[in-house]
């Protein structure tokens, strides 16, 4: 098979909404070296815009690699430097596995539901 000529379409949708005091970033699609810069910019915009708590909802994320994970780590550091916070919502094994094998499950607060992440239901033990 020879070189591909057609550029594949971008495959990450980002939607920013408010839930109480939290800024929720809902992601749909794949986070990799091509789409991760858009996630980085979205987090930067929220933190610089004064968000006190950013919740990244990854329930509809089909794929995450080290590039996307690096953007989340940058986002967490940026949020904390501005006295904000960044939390994750994720339940899919393929996503949780990446946090686990990199040890970053200890750095992030990972919630099972969006309600839990925005403080509208008690955290599961």
């Amino acid at each position: 098979m020879g070189p591909l000529l057609n550029c594949p379409s971008m495959d990450l949708d980002l939607e920013s909404t408010r839930r109480g005091t939290a800024s929720v970033l809902t992601l749909r699609g794949e986070i990799d070296v091509y789409t991760a810069p858009r996630l980085r910019q979205a987090i930067v915009d929220l933190v610089n815009g004064g968000a006190t708590r950013v919740v990244v909802d990854m329930e509809k994320v089909d794929f995450l690699d080290s590039t996307g994970l690096g953007v989340l780590v940058e986002g967490l550091k940026r949020a904390r430097s501005k006295e904000s916070d960044l939390a994750i919502v994720a339940t899919q094994d393929k996503i949780l596995k990446i946090f686990d094998i990199t040890g970053l499950n200890k750095a992030f607060i990972i919630h099972r539901t969006l309600d839990e992440a925005v403080g509208e239901s008690p955290a599961e033990s």
């Binding site: 098979m1 020879g2 070189p3 591909l4 550029c7 594949p8 971008m10 495959d11 794949e30 990799d32 070296v33 091509y34 794929f63 690699d65 080290s66 590039t67 994970l69 690096g70 780590v73 094994d93 393929k94 596995k97 990446i98 094998i101 990199t102 040890g103």
Partner: protein, 162 residues
């Protein structure tokens, strides 16, 4: 992608022979890493590999191709990145080849041999992922001229295949 009528059975060096089931070239740009990832996913599913292992293989390919694209970018290269793959009864063998120049390091099989010393942060995170997913890693020069060849083997245990 082309089907092979004679599937290899072992994940050893001889498996990565001259006739890969998947042989894909793509421009060294970030938007094409997704194409490589989906191609290997389709090949693995075609062989009845379970979805969990398919995701592991896609992730390993994404990490390998992202590194190749980054190396090309740093070197200013425009030659295509090549993804080759073989699926056997016990493993998936993946090769990612680029023309970025000589390998930054040589690795001879053990994922723990990957040296993280000079890697930038983004690529640093790929190391534990590859170590966690891949059973064998080799990094060395291409046999057909300048460039780097990354070879990864992901086991498919009997419990993992349909």
């Amino acid at each position: 992608m082309r089907p092979s009528g004679n599937l290899p059975r072992k994940a050893d060096t001889s498996l990565a022979g001259p006739d890969p089931e998947l042989d894909l070239e793509f421009p060294p740009r970030p938007e094409f890493v997704r194409v490589a990832r989906h191609a290997i996913g389709a090949l693995a599913r075609m062989h009845g590999v379970t979805q969990g292992i398919v995701e592991d293989v896609k992730l390993a390919v994404s990490e390998g191709c992202t590194a190749a694209v980054a190396a090309n970018s740093e070197a200013g290269g425009t030659e295509p990145v090549q993804l080759r793959a073989w699926v056997g009864a016990e493993s998936v063998v993946i090769e990612v080849l680029d023309r970025s120049g000589e390998p930054e390091q040589l690795v001879a099989g053990n994922p723990r041999q990957i040296n993280t010393g000079e890697l930038p942060f983004e690529r640093l995170l790929s190391v534990p992922i590859i170590r966690g997913l891949v059973d064998e890693v080799s990094i060395g020069p291409r046999e057909d001229g300048p460039g780097t060849r990354l070879r990864m083997v992901v086991s498919i245990s009997e419990d993992d295949s349909i």
